[in-house]
Symmetry: C2
Subunit: 288 residues, 2 copies
Amino acid sequence: MANGILESLDGKLERCSINTATLGHRESLRITVDRIARAGFGSIAPWRSEVESCDVHALSRQIKDAGLSVSGYCRSTYIPALSLTEFKANVEGNKKALHDAGVLEARCFVMVVGGIPVGSQDLAGARTQVRDAVAELLNVAKEVGVPLALEPLHPVYAANRSVLNTLGQALQWCDDIDPDRSGYLGVAIDAYHCWWDPDLAQGIASAGNAKRILAYHVCDWLHDTQDFLLDRGMMGDGVIDLPELRRLVEAAGYVGSVEVEIFSKENWWKRDAEEVLSICAKRLQTVC
Amino acid sequence: MANGILESLDGKLERCSINTATLGHRESLRITVDRIARAGFGSIAPWRSEVESCDVHALSRQIKDAGLSVSGYCRSTYIPALSLTEFKANVEGNKKALHDAGVLEARCFVMVVGGIPVGSQDLAGARTQVRDAVAELLNVAKEVGVPLALEPLHPVYAANRSVLNTLGQALQWCDDIDPDRSGYLGVAIDAYHCWWDPDLAQGIASAGNAKRILAYHVCDWLHDTQDFLLDRGMMGDGVIDLPELRRLVEAAGYVGSVEVEIFSKENWWKRDAEEVLSICAKRLQTVC
């Protein structure tokens, strides 16, 4: 990538990862791990709901034995709350999950930070709560050896899922909270969340300069999306210029996984898991 | 507003405007004009579909005779296209509408610029098309005496309704296209589209310094929105801190209308028009 020309992912599935949400969480994680490994991918990104119902040490061994690494662990407990008690409980929930991320040797702990508490109109206050929590969690991240990846979510989720909404905002928080660039605080760049941002190219370059890019997620934004939570498109089926986006991310120095994360209740989650993995593999190698 | 303290809108409905979409376009515009005037509002913002089916000169007289001004004329033909022929037709459609805006003596022509053409993945190209069109339309705006108000739309609409998505982006386009600040190019700030933006306060201040704020629209973003096009909330029912937003807009020097624009298929559009106007009036005077 030194010259800014994008190298194809053809024959490089070991650089690619499958976020288990892509398969709709219809099978046990033990089966999913084997499927993803057999299909030739190099990494997996599991979710807490499925990990926390397993013996995490046994799971970690299974993942390693299958030849996979963990590109990210999904995801944080939402942070903002109306009461201090609830806020503290949310922070504790994240600390517990971070210890599991350590056992899994995850490349990062993906932080979807939470929205505005129901009944509140205090966006600024919710953002302050998140920053305070991230500062506290950074210490735990260093202890367990897993960096925190702040994932800016599309502004459509600002009310109910994430008050962190742009890459620029995420980088500002990183610089404020971790000015010394410890290596334990960075960002997850998800094509679905960021593609529209007029400042995206500049943000990716800044993130690279600061060595903050911890994850890169792909899917596609369908032109006429039916459901803004559960109708993500397969790469190549929507409006995002994915080769250009990966070019920017890799020109900024990112050498980690390209992780597929597709929420698709009415389409991909209804298809056979092997078919979905096969199409993911094909699209990664041809349109990403 | 010199001291940054917000003055209530209580007793000041003449400063308030009703965008006719708020009533769901269920009655003729002639009836709607009378309803809005009788309810005590000072302005109206009509839509092209209803204006273009009238004699626009007669309509303009009716609006003036009712004691109303036109806070904005909604809205531009979408601009980006796959072919030059279609692009030119879109620009011509806007020129024609601008002449009607002149007859209506509208305070501004609201520009919702259009999304990425179906089948394209060229967001940057679509944005270039819009900037080229706006530069051309600016000449017509000067001729007819109605400024163009670029309305950044929420990023949820970036694919299919507007490739202009933040206030900062809109202001950059204004400065690039109209560096001399002719007074004929500015922005419409809509609470629904902008409330989430981490750079909003700074953007509003910059817009004010450049004398670019041509319109201010209110409604609310419901915490659990059911439909991101047609489930806007009434002011006070959602997550937006509307007093703070108006404080910012007025501290930036804006003295124009506060315009209510609510798309609400399953709630407000099913209610009696008089009831909707009465609740708009109440909320404007108490929570905005």
